[in-house]
């Protein structure tokens, strides 16, 4: 497929890199000569200096032969105008726009169906809020992703030192194999697709798939006490903070929101009913102690300044908060944060990248989620009748070494597979894979991505 990406910022860059690695033809347009120069030395894409809102630049980029246009600049207006021109130049192109202003997204129908025919509007912030809410359903996990409409959950959990699993080989998990499958182990900065011989070590981050009902079994195995979510503190009352607090306002969770700006606090208080609005500085230790941070189950730190977010989270942890969720914008920081003791990271950019990639790769690939470190992915494939892999025992399928089947979903049934299990047509498979294995997997599933 040929894909045009407007904006070589972090979002555009990462999408371009992924798609180029997956053998799509990518053209990137950006106004900044320096960004374009850098881009060209790092990824194999065609890069054009110019404005995405200039029809002749779009034509130079070959919009007439393109399948998808992704408008991912920092400016909503530029993105929308780019889609407008794209619609004008080629009627049937798929258009994806990143739109952040909630004023626009509230009326997204206008852009989607009535007027611009934008196929997908990504609001990174609301993507981020929904991933935080998902996380709150399973607060013990550092990451939660839904597959097959939420029936299968992918959870990321950190192994504690006192966990009974520490020191055990994966092959010895006879007792749990019907329940869980460890798909990826993240140890420091290393990403492992495990075989039976791998041994679990303390502080490993395990990504496992499991049925929704069995999450508590897993936590029991890992010796993690499920406490449920009693108290939540949100630091940062910006739009994200407000959106999150509004959702929590409807639940029974005891929620507080901390905001520095007193004027903003008034606004928050007007909009929120049960949530307690506190006017104070999240970096103020005494203030946090006074608000009893030690009893908090979850501390969500989402101020606009990412360095401050990291520090507040560390402070909160030191004061006894059980778990923190930290907003970090810069993607290059994300692999570092777990080593300094931050539990979970949310990033509007990562959310946007995920959502866009998921959409682009749709087709027989039902759902894709890059994992925390970006080196591995979880993919939901549908097995086609024509594919080589159906009706053969899994142990005989020539799977790439860097990939592992995490779950087979057959109708209502969810199978955590072993070597003897067979894949039947129309099964949904949830597969863990390192980045390099994805093209091989696609071939294996004869999933031609030229779906459009």
């Amino acid at each position: 497929m040929k894909i045009i990406i407007i904006g070589a910022g972090e979002v555009g860059f990462n999408i371009a890199q992924r798609l180029s690695e997956e053998n799509h033809d990518v053209v990137v347009i950006d106004k900044d000569q320096n960004k374009i120069n850098h881009l060209q030395t790092v990824i194999d894409v065609q890069a054009i200096v110019g404005s995405g809102t200039n029809p002749s630049i779009l034509q130079e980029a070959g919009i007439n032969e393109s399948d998808i246009i992704v408008a991912a600049t920092d400016s909503d207006e530029v993105n929308l105008i780019a889609c407008f021109y794209a619609q004008y130049l080629t009627e049937y192109i798929t258009k994806i726009a990143r739109v952040r202003n909630s004023g626009y997204t509230e009326h997204s129908d206008m852009f989607k169906t009535d007027f611009l025919n934008i196929d997908l509007i990504i609001n990174p912030q609301s993507e981020m809020v929904s991933s935080m809410l998902k996380l709150m359903e399973v607060p013990e996990a550092s990451e939660v992703l839904d597959f097959v409409n939420g029936k299968v959950k992918l959870i990321g959990v950190t192994v504690k030192e006192d966990s009974p699993l520490v020191g055990r080989k994966l092959s010895s998990f006879q007792d749990v194999e019907q329940v869980l499958l460890v798909g990826v182990i993240i140890r420091g900065e290393e990403v492992i697709i495990p075989s039976g011989q791998d041994v679990i070590q303390p502080n490993d981050l395990l990504y496992c798939v499991t049925r929704k009902e069995e999450i508590s079994t897993i936590f029991r195995l890992l010796n993690i006490r499920e406490a449920g979510l009693g108290r939540v503190v949100i630091v940062g009352g910006g739009t994200t903070g407000l959106a999150l607090a509004t959702s929590l306002d409807k639940t029974n969770i005891n929620t507080k929101i901390i905001e520095k700006d007193s004027q903003r606090c008034l606004e928050l208080a007007e909009k929120l009913e049960k949530v307690v609005v506190l006017n104070g500085d999240g970096t103020d230790r005494d203030f946090l102690v006074e608000e009893n941070i030690a009893d908090v189950d979850l501390m969500v730190v989402i101020t606009g300044d990412e360095e401050t977010n990291v520090l507040i989270s560390l402070l909160g942890k030191a004061l006894g908060a059980k778990k923190t969720v930290t907003r970090i914008g810069k993607l290059s920081y994300i692999p570092l944060v777990s080593t300094i003791g931050i539990d979970t990271v949310v990033s509007p950019r990562l959310s946007a990248i995920r959502a866009i990639l998921q959409y682009i790769r749709k087709g027989k690939v039902v759902c894709v989620a890059p994992l925390k470190s970006e080196a591995a992915e979880v993919i939901e494939f549908e097995a086609l009748e024509t594919s080589d892999i159906v009706n053969t025992p899994l142990s005989e399928v020539k799977f790439p070494r860097e990939a592992i089947v995490g779950a087979i979903v057959r109708g209502e049934e969810i199978i955590i597979p072993r070597g003897h299990n067979m894949i039947k047509p129309h099964d949904h498979l949830i597969i863990f894979a390192l980045k390099g294995a994805i093209p091989k997997l696609e071939k294996l599933f004869t999933v031609k991505l030229e779906y459009f």
Partner: protein, 482 residues
């Protein structure tokens, strides 16, 4: 700098280079000219050596080549191509010494076309074919060829591409670098086939048609005859070759766009317009100058002038007349042509029209600034502003080009060559032209240059072909520091 990666890619390169030797092998079979075994040995050594290097470094991964590594691969890859490419000359006994063989081989790959052969016609056809083929391969770039068929190079391919086709602005025609390389080669191949056809239809023997086309398209200039194109004495052949020399001197990106249906692209491109304008003006000047003084008829003068000016400015180096017998002003024009060169992104050498145009504009801007000290003004080419860093890089290139020229001329003169030979030989080799002036003039060749001088000129050819930076950076101590 990862030595393994570099050696591995040079290994692949040699392997492909060896495969190309199969073509002259077939030719030598057809003509049974006695060069079969020498070429076979060359093939085995080149491809075999490449394969051994490739296998021995199999643990290397080449996905993320750095710019430095790219430059090393290209420079050393070209040197090794020069060496292995000289084996057929050496083994067949066509050229005696290693110095001469290497000179001839690298002169081929760099599309210079400077020869040390006194009696070209006596060479076996197989060797002659190889000699022409080196030019054809060098024109579009042996490394670009590898990029085209080795998709796994990915971004690494971009580094190699930039090092081998160093144009002021990199034109990526397709989203993928391997596709871009493939596209360029396809366009190159297409125009090559057309020229072979036109020459053959006109009555040139097939072997000569192929060999001369192989030396026109890369703006090379080797001929299978001692007297070059003058041997045929045919206005038709000269006309066809002149047209294709101009085509070879045009940016191949424009050919690509033309073939895609954008028929007005040549007229719209500012560099192309200036190139054609300069070419027409110089042909006119030389015609007027040699009409009456050397040639009796205006048609005869025009025919010689058009061919010779085109041949020199596109840095091809074919000869139809001994221009050293022309009036001094015509000789000076040809001498200057050796510096101007053709368009950026073409197969031609020398400084190139785009750089000259931008340098002139740069100069005028300085004058403008003296008048308006506070003026902020960007230099434009065809309505598009040119980034300052491109201008800086061009000024640097110009200074290095002239500096190296002067240095090499000094070396040549200290080796005992006369003024015209020293000035001409270096201009003709660093510009990848071929025939120079004096002892290395159009009616003579480079065999009389002392060995040391030949090595210096060989280096000039490589510097010129890879546009200075890629090669000269190897001499910078900072490059080798970790």
């Amino acid at each position: 700098m990862r030595l393994r990666q570099i050696l591995r890619l040079i290994g692949i390169l040699n392997f492909f280079l060896g495969l190309f030797m199969l073509a002259p092998l077939v030719v030598s079979l057809i003509y049974s000219d006695g060069s079969f075994l020498p070429i076979l040995y060359s093939f085995i050594i080149t491809s075999g050596g490449g394969l051994v290097l490739f296998v021995a470094t199999s643990t290397a991964d080449y996905t993320a080549l750095s710019q430095r590594e790219g430059m090393a691969i290209v420079t050393f890859g070209w040197l090794s191509a020069g060496f292995f490419g000289s084996l057929p000359f050496l083994f067949s006994g066509s050229i005696g010494s290693l110095t001469n063989s290497f000179f001839e081989s690298l002169s081929g790959f760099t599309t210079t076309g400077a020869s040390i052969l006194n009696n070209i016609e006596s060479l076996p056809q197989g060797v002659l074919f190889w000699r022409s083929l080196t030019q054809w391969l060098g024109g579009m770039g042996i490394i670009v060829f590898s990029i085209a068929i080795l998709p796994f190079l990915g971004v690494g391919g971009m580094q190699l591409y930039k090092a081998e086709i160093p144009s002021p602005v990199v034109d990526k025609l397709q989203p993928r670098i391997s596709e871009t390389a493939k596209t360029l080669w396809k366009v190159y191949l297409l125009i090559t086939v057309i020229e072979i056809g036109l020459l053959f239809i006109g009555g040139m023997p097939l072997f000569d048609s192929i060999c001369h086309t192989f030396c026109t398209m890369p703006t090379g200039g080797f001929s299978t005859h001692g007297s070059s194109i003058a041997y045929f004495d045919s206005a038709y052949f000269e006309g066809v070759i002149t047209v294709f020399m101009v085509l070879a001197g045009v940016n191949f990106a424009l050919h690509f766009k033309f073939l895609k249906g954008d028929f007005r692209v040549f007229g719209r491109d500012p560099e192309c317009r200036i190139f054609l304008l300069i070419l027409a003006a110089l042909i006119l000047l030389v015609t007027v100058n040699i009409y009456g003084t050397v040639y009796e008829s205006i048609a005869g003068a025009f025919r010689r002038a058009a061919f010779q000016v085109t041949s020199i400015i596109t840095t091809t180096g074919f000869v139809t007349s001994d221009y050293e017998r022309w009036p001094a002003s015509s000789q000076i024009i040809l001498f200057l042509c050796m510096f101007i060169g053709a368009m950026a992104g073409s197969t031609g050498g020398a400084i190139k029209i785009m750089r000259i145009v931008l340098l002139v504009k740069y100069g005028f801007r300085e004058i403008f600034r003296l008048v308006h000290p506070h003026a902020v003004r960007s230099i434009r080419l065809g309505g598009k502003p040119v980034p300052e860093e491109v201008l800086n890089s061009i000024s640097g290139f110009f200074i290095l080009y002239l500096g190296l020229y002067v240095l090499a001329v000094l070396i040549m003169s200290f080796l005992g060559l006369d003024v015209m030979t020293s000035l001409g030989s270096v201009a003709a080799t660093i510009g990848n032209v071929g025939p120079g002036f004096g002892l290395v003039g159009p009616a003579k060749n480079y065999v009389s240059v002392p060995d040391l001088g030949k090595w210096a000129l060989t280096l000039c050819m490589l510097l010129g072909r890879l546009e200075i930076y890629t090669v000269i950076i190897m001499l910078a101590p900072a490059y080798w520091r970790k």
